[in-house]
Symmetry: C2
Subunit: 368 residues, 2 copies
Amino acid sequence: MSRLRGSVTIDDVARHVGVAKGTVSRVLNNYTDISDSTRKRILKAVQDLGYQPSATARNLKRGRQDTLGIIIPVGHGNGADPFLAEFIDGIARALDELGLDLLVTTAHSRDHVIQTLKRLIARRKVDGFIVTRTEVDDPRIAYLNELNFPFVAHGRTGDPSGYAWFDIDNEATFADGVRHLYSLGHERIGFVGGSLDLNFARQRREGYRQGLEALGVRHDPDLETIQTISEEGGLAGAEALLSQAAPPTAMLCATDALAIGVVQFCRKLGLKAGSDVTVIGYDGLPVGEYLDPPLTTYSQSAQEAGGRVARMLIDLLDGKEPQTLQALAKARLIRRASDGAPSMTSDALANVLRDRLNQQPPSGSKGE
Amino acid sequence: MSRLRGSVTIDDVARHVGVAKGTVSRVLNNYTDISDSTRKRILKAVQDLGYQPSATARNLKRGRQDTLGIIIPVGHGNGADPFLAEFIDGIARALDELGLDLLVTTAHSRDHVIQTLKRLIARRKVDGFIVTRTEVDDPRIAYLNELNFPFVAHGRTGDPSGYAWFDIDNEATFADGVRHLYSLGHERIGFVGGSLDLNFARQRREGYRQGLEALGVRHDPDLETIQTISEEGGLAGAEALLSQAAPPTAMLCATDALAIGVVQFCRKLGLKAGSDVTVIGYDGLPVGEYLDPPLTTYSQSAQEAGGRVARMLIDLLDGKEPQTLQALAKARLIRRASDGAPSMTSDALANVLRDRLNQQPPSGSKGE
DNA sequence: AAGTGTTCCAAAACCGGTTTCGGAAGTCAA
DNA sequence: TTGACTTCCGAAACCGGTTTTGGAACACTT
């Protein structure tokens, strides 16, 4: 009969038992107005025939898809983010328990993201979205809010009211970073930050400043630098901070990518991170473990975050108010080997650097 | 009227124009039996009302979902694979052009994979699957073949006939690796492989052997070791090969994870990869760039592979025969800095190693 | 015996599209 | 003028579920 491979429909079950298909449906949806004997006969038939309802047909009537969407932004060709891979893993695990699924799409520009959002919503392919890498002024969030379409953000925007989000307490974490460095004995603590368009970058700088203030250390603007978030940015940032008359003995970096660049710059100058100078990153990237020395960094569990965000979205779809779905978590310090007590004062460091910066070869030639 | 936010249905459009909804549908599906004037009026109304057909309703009738599925296997808690992140990116890009979407699920055990497969098929949520990390005897492929459900594998199984796949020519690539090492001057070339349950691991060892044979170099079983694919496996593999009387001066590794372990073991012994000993990996992991020295490796573009596999699956759904959809690609050698001409003979190396292996401290303490 | 509830389920409407069927109107040749 | 074809489109069936409606059968009052 049915030309689709083995697909058993509700009609097949109904016919097999000799009842109306509505009755089968009611049994499967736990209505109470079915006699025990009929219920049993139907359940047996469902078993025997291996019937599973078609998600499509059910969704058409119900108006739900049992599918959540995530749109991952990807740069031009430059691979995907390992954080996102784990994040998605966390989401998928959480959804699996509830029989929901995750639709993953990538978008390569700001316009493309909105366009994809629009398509997925109009075509009704998903019930809600998970938005990652929020910006201070995020067009996706504006769009979804306007449509009143359910979503949860991983990370906040400039105005974090009125929608559901889960975020790391960047301020507290970076203030903690400053405290940690200070307790190691560092007094000149630098900060290598990222573009202030990104909300988290702004918050991390704020946390750095708050940390200093809490300790009563004067905030020196020369110890702060803003770079693009990349290894190159880290190189530039380290150069900017270290070539000063009174360089920092420790550098707190907004991301691991920046920290990796900083460590590289230090190595080029023959400085060893962890003893000559201290570097701390943020992200807990696996790459950090293989660095020389292994990078000390703050980390949140991406998988945990994914699960958390997914559960929040489900709550939202169940009717909870977005305002009640806002949560902060703190990142954990993973001490590896790029931090330690200062081996020399800022002045001594400046002396060492003065010579080396001059004789520094133009490029990273390895020598024999 | 409609209680769903702004959702315009085909009926709205039909009413607005004053035609039957079937007519609207025919216009949108490019039927030819519609007069130009009617077509224009309808298209205008579609524009004006911002109508987009509901994927759900369309799928119900069509029996297609315009959605492909991928199930990523994840170990217990130990993060996701960066390769897969890029692979998914490649798939998503290819699908985006055609308006298809990708459903991503994770599974944490063999049974769970089959179970998820079953659910997704029975519920008719996807039209086809992409299967990654194939095993020599892969239950997923057996299951899908049995059901005659469309899928494309990334990687082959022991019996690669009868289904669509895309794979790297592991044999050719590893034979090429041997040739490369030989041309650098290495004569004792080792191989650190992975569990032979994994099909690619088997093929890579085969390629290694073929490479030797093609050069007329005698195959020495002592130069081959099989380890679990991980950094630890690499450490163990390096120890096994290097502690012999006639150690290899170069080691070809089945994956980057193994190669990373090998490099680490060498470093612990004070050997520098790229000069004292040569190490080549496979995977092109970004991590490799940050290694000291940066790892020379073979790589396929994960993104490209994803796109390729996605397009194959689409062809399959369009009715192409699976047998015509089988393709091999060759990996590219990315020369970084862990390979080079041998700086000493196997004998000399053995001498150096003899001392160092004895005075080797039990654990990886860094010293000052 | 008639009226009033329950209990249980069949039948039909509905979700929003696609596709089939058939017929009205117009065109053209005979 | 009539018959045969086209052209174009309305009406209805259909996909496979869920939900509403309504009524048969039975038990229980009064």
